[in-house]
């Protein structure tokens, strides 16, 4: 019965997550609260949780050290009520398999289901280490109340690890014996033990000495059983922890603490909220203002008679390249490409403004096609009524009024060969290169520093030869001690052989000929042939169906590849592999995107990958994915299945200037052979680049059309 209750609870939790997914209502002006984090990277005092949340969207990185324990946490406030955290911890233990320590990954979730009222406290529920090896597993119910503006108290009940001391009988009337469960290889969700066994109270009291400084005392029920049983840990002299938290700067705080009367420790938190764009609407130069008819006729009389070159010059000031222009009665058809603006609406607004200044007054509609610089095709065509553009420019609700008159259509099929997309067919670059590898217990943070040289040759608008040569100069990746996994063909888990053999030699990171297609107005395709990534060479083809006015798409990704020589040279090994993966994409009206992939993965296993990402409407993206295939968890080994966290950070957020550049990181806790795919750069996948020119993308950013 209790198990059913837990299932109901979990279903409710998922429902809450889905229903609150659209909520965006963090306290106005407060975007980062680094002092709320506890040593687990979750809302809390020192070690214990509190019934609080971070501002919606806050992304935090925190690290804590005390008594032999090190915890590094990545936390994210998913919705107003739901907080999640991923942790990598060093835990002292007599059974520790790495020189007396465990190096352990774990996930937490925390849900605030009742906000603080005048007389009632806020109440939250949480699951600690609910997917993992269970070393930190515990559940809690906690309430928090601000007694005065400066004094805050919290109290709660903990189960599992949080019921190590002062335990009482289970308040749900269940057995006081914690239900045992087998974590197997970790990485899987077990729910039977939730809220089982005895429970213990915990309390905390905090006092704000100043707006930046807080003193905290807490009574913790965690007995630190593993940590106190080894000399690498500490002695638990009492139940009390003390700490001072100080906010050094916006988004950055430090905590000094005394744990259980013995261990002195330090924590640092860096909190950043993608919603808190420091440059708000940006500092790009103002756009060209619009003119009334009289002023326009006067201005045009002073312009060159060549409308194309006049328009091209004005657009170039904004970094937009005019490729073609054709005036037909009431319409002007233009094709442009742009490599600067992250927001397509803003870019389209600028194109329309220039056209409104240069083309004759007889032209009433602007039909603008944006050509993708990489692929050479156009995804959509946007039609803007000239008079509406001018009428609503400085009006309240102007963008919304203009949107009603805007049409977005699928652009025609094919690649336009009447223009060239770059002045020179050859481009090259030479920059430092950083390669990071995390979560290896022998080297939790490992990596290399070197250089990368790229060379591209554009054969025509849709065919490019791309190459990248890298050389690690300072590296520890060649010293990875662990070996490949057994049970499956080593399609990914033997990556260390490549790092070892490449060492500090230069190697071909990639060398491909990339051909793009648009055979129909809704179908996009590409073929990549050559050395696709460090470990594989061969041929890959991707096709996507996407209507510019629909928020969804379907795709197919096929690859037939061979393993590359571990020295990263031109040699190819005989091991042949293939992948056949179908994908469904859906971009919700909110900022959430979903992708479901299914098919055959590299090791010949069949399964699905579910990806969920929060796309902030400023280029930031935080997401997670999990791949489950027909490979048994025991065969996959540590971690049970492939999963990861993705983080995409746009450059323009930090500079306020127009730029499409971004940095994408994929944090993969485990590298296994099950569910493995090619590791390709983000720009080798078509969907995001196509969706960028779709109706939903324009609509989301349309408030920038007059910026």
């Amino acid at each position: 019965m209790f198990r059913n209750r837990i299932c109901i609870f979990l279903n409710l939790l998922i429902s809450v997550l889905l229903t609150t997914i659209n909520e965006v209502n963090a306290s106005e002006g407060i975007y980062e609260t680094p002092r709320i984090l506890n040593t687990y990277g979750m809302p809390g005092s020192i070690d214990t949780p509190t019934a609080e949340v971070f501002p919606e969207g806050q992304f935090s990185v925190s690290s804590s050290i005390f008594g032999g324990t090190i915890r590094t946490n990545l936390s994210f406030q998913v919705t107003n009520g739901v907080t999640v955290s991923f942790r990598y911890a060093r835990i002292p233990s007599a059974r520790g398999n790495h020189r007396g320590y465990f190096w352990d990954r774990s996930f937490d979730i925390h849900y605030l289901f009742n906000e603080q009222k005048k007389y009632l406290p806020s109440i939250a529920i949480g699951l600690r280490d609910f997917i993992g090896t269970g070393l930190y597993t515990g559940e809690y119910l906690v309430a928090t109340k601000n007694i005065t503006q400066n004094i805050k108290i919290s109290g709660g009940l903990g189960w599992g690890r949080l019921s190590g001391k002062n335990n009482k009988a289970n308040i749900f009337g269940l057995s006081n014996e914690r239900i045992a469960f087998s974590t197997g290889f970790g990485g899987t969700l077990h729910s039977n033990h939730f809220f089982s066994g005895s429970n213990s109270p915990f309390f905390s009291l905090s006092y704000d000495l100043s707006p930046r400084l807080e003193i905290i005392a807490e009574i913790s029920s965690d007995d630190y059983g593993m940590e106190v049983a080894t000399s690498r840990g500490f002695k638990r002299r009492n139940d009390v922890n003390f700490a001072l938290k100080y906010e050094l700067a916006q988004g950055f705080s430090l905590m000094g603490k005394l744990m259980h009367g013995d261990a002195i420790g330090l924590s640092g938190t860096l909190a950043l909220n993608p919603r808190n764009n420091p440059y708000k609407s940006g500092i790009e130069p103002a756009p060209l203002p619009l003119l009334g008819n009289k002023a326009l006729i006067e201005t045009q009389s002073l312009m060159k008679s060549d409308i194309f070159s006049e328009s091209a010059e004005l657009l170039e000031l904004d970094g937009i390249i005019l490729l073609t222009m054709k005036i037909e009665n009431k319409f002007v058809n233009v094709e442009v490409f742009d490599r600067n603006y992250l927001d397509v609406s803003q870019m389209i607004g600028r194109v329309a403004r220039v056209l409104s200044k240069t083309v004759p007054l007889s032209v009433e509609f602007f039909k603008i096609k944006v050509v993708d610089y990489q692929a050479g095709y156009s995804v959509s065509k946007i039609i803007i009524e000239r008079e509406s553009l001018r009428e609503f420019e400085l009006k309240f609700d102007g963008p919304a009024s203009l949107w009603k008159d805007v049409q977005i259509e699928n652009a025609s099929a094919g690649i336009n060969s009447s223009f060239t997309l770059s002045d020179s067919p050859t481009t090259w670059s030479f920059y430092p290169d950083v390669d990071l590898l995390l979560f290896d217990p022998h080297f939790p943070i490992n990596g290399s520093l070197g250089w990368e040289a790229t060379l591209s040759y554009r054969i025509n608008n849709s065919t490019i030869i791309n190459s990248s040569v890298k050389q690690p100069i300072l590296t520890a990746l060649n010293e990875i001690k662990r070996g490949p996994k057994s049970g499956l063909p080593n399609v990914r888990s033997d990556f260390m052989f490549y790092y070892r053999d490449i060492s500090t030699r230069p190697y071909i990171s990639s060398l491909t000929i990339d051909q793009f297609y648009k055979p129909f107005k809704n179908i996009y395709g590409q073929i990549n042939f050559g050395y696709l990534e460090m470990m594989y060479a061969g041929i890959r083809a991707e096709a996507i169906w996407k209507d510019a006015n629909k928020p969804y798409a379907i795709g197919l990704d096929l690859a037939s590849i061979n393993k590359r020589n571990t020295y990263g040279d031109f040699s190819i090994l005989s091991n042949n592999y293939s992948t056949i993966i179908g994908s469904v994409y859906y971009d919700f009206q909110s900022d959430w995107n979903v992708q479901l992939d299914a098919g055959r993965y590299l090791a010949g296993d069949y399964g699905t990958t579910f990806s969920l990402s929060r796309n902030f409407n400023n280029g930031w993206e935080i997401g997670a994915y999990a791949t489950l295939t027909n490979v048994k968890f025991s065969t996959f080994g540590e971690g049970s299945f492939d999963k990861g966290i993705t983080l995409k950070i746009p450059l323009s957020w930090f500079t306020g200037k127009k730029s499409q550049a971004y940095s994408k990181s994929v944090i993969r806790p485990i590298t296994g052979d099950g569910g493995a795919r090619l590791h390709l750069d983000d720009d080798k996948f078509l969907y995001r680049n196509i969706a960028r020119y779709g109706e939903r993308s324009f609509n989301k950013n349309w408030k920038r059309v007059y910026r």
Partner: protein, 230 residues
């Protein structure tokens, strides 16, 4: 080790690209790291021109096109703007370094190029603000937040009129009617001042608020003086 560090630093110095877009992106990226290392705050988005100029009729006579002057409240930073937009009584003035301000009847209705631009505004009485005894008014200002959504401020304002206020323009002293508009919204407030030519709605000089980040600016309507009104 020293050799490796030397090689790495040399590589950093040799970083380059034939592609101007990639090159500028990398430069911006390095600048972010550099600023973090120097613990320098993000560069101010102000569009300032520091000039030591005597603003008199002789100076104004050099311009044969309409201009206005924007100035920070302390007067240290100024910019001259020219009229580039004109549609249905809405005038948009643009500076050489890329900011623009739009006015309707002398009232600021939009800005572009500031970090927190006044994207849109709604006023219910712009045509009558300076022509009758407006005591109270409501206006809405809209900004873009960090996710390109509106942040709207609704101001409730009181307007106080003071006639025969002497004011200095260029090298002249003029009698003006001063309107002081005190506005409050839920989280912020401001005071705008308009110096209006008596018995007209021509705003000669004003102090107007843009946003919380950018504060207020002084606006000198030299265009009125170019029209031989004086």
């Amino acid at each position: 080790m020293m050799r490796t560090i030397f090689v790495l630093l040399s590589l950093l110095c040799l970083s380059c690209s034939s592609d101007s877009i990639i090159s500028s992106e990398k430069t911006l990226l390095y600048k972010i790291y550099k600023d973090v290392i120097k613990t320098k705050p993000a560069s101010s988005p102000s569009k300032d021109i520091n000039e030591k100029i005597l603003y008199d009729k002789a100076w104004l006579s050099k311009f044969n096109y309409p201009i206005i002057l924007l100035s920070s409240l302390d007067g240290k930073n100024t910019a001259t703007l020219v009229a580039l937009g004109n549609y249905k009584d809405k005038l948009t003035w643009v500076s050489a370094d890329g900011i623009s301000v739009s006015f309707l009847n002398g009232i600021l209705i939009a800005t572009r190029g500031y970090s927190e631009d006044l994207m849109e505004s709604q006023h219910n009485d712009l045509n009558t603000l300076f022509s009758k005894n407006t005591k109270k008014r409501i206006k809405k200002y809209r900004y873009l937040n960090g996710e390109n959504q509106y942040r709207e401020l609704t101001f409730t304002c009181t307007v106080v009129e003071k006639t025969n206020t002497p004011s200095f323009f260029l090298d002249m002293k003029l009698e003006t009617t001063k309107f002081t508009e005190t506005c409050k919204a839920s989280t912020t407030g401001h005071t705008n001042e308009y110096y209006v030519l008596p018995n007209t709605s021509i705003v000669l000089k004003s102090k107007q608020w843009i946003s919380e980040t950018n504060g207020s600016i002084n606006i000198y309507n030299y265009y009125a003086f170019q029209n031989n009104l004086f």
